[in-house]
Amino acid sequence: MATISEKQGISRRSVTIQSNLERNAFMFMRMSGIALLILAVGHMMIQHVLNSSTNLTIQFVAQQWNSWGWKIYDLLLLAFAIPHGINGLRNVLEDYVHNETAVKWINILLAIFVVATLLWAGYAILRFDATPFMD
């Protein structure tokens, strides 16, 4: 049966690719991208359009992080945005760096950076106590 795409000269053949790091990274970029469409664009709309950086204070941040809803939102945003961004940087770097040892080191250093950032900022959000900032 000729499908529409075959009539247009494009045929589709599905291939099964074994699960490996690069395939998972590829899938992660698409899936986290969909999550970030809601989380990151939502964050920009809420914090930078509905609210404005020009009247942002630490008290405002404390008021938001006084609720677990905002803490979870920001933790999710953190957990998707940092790996998505760093993996994007890795993809860009690998287009220009052709030395295999250098690529290996870039991967290791970027992975350490992702883990360190997630731990540092995740700990800050989780442990943040709003009481000193509330009047």
Binding site: S5, S53, Y96
Partner: protein, 155 residues
Amino acid sequence: MASLTLTIREAVRYRGRSGQISWIAHRISGLAILAFLVIHVWDTANAFFAPNIYAWSLALFKNPFFALGEVGVMAAILYHAMNGIRITILDFKPEWWIYQGRSAIIVWVMFFALFIPIAILMFSGLAAHCGEMAAVGDSCWRLPSLSEFPPSMFE
């Protein structure tokens, strides 16, 4: 390094039309967002680790130089989000590759339709802030010093 020079030269020379422009815009917007994001995340963590440094950075980021950067980040995020969805859809729907060019134009139209009103809103917020600062004899262009935010302010 040689391949980076080659990329920049070929980006100008190569006539890849809409797909190539989208590819370049996606890369540049992604790298711009990442540069901002890393600073933003480590800065925001200071709300917990060093609240006075965080309060100082919030004041600093109200300067029009940073406000302009914020509008730039907004543009980068909106384009990257729209174009990222296009890439994802086309990755899983090869049948739609014939719409490559058309979809790239739809992304640009959606981007400008969202970004222009948002940029106007953001700039009017900045103008209001500068007006308020001027009304009390201060200037929004003045860079606040860290000494204005002593660690004792949150004790």
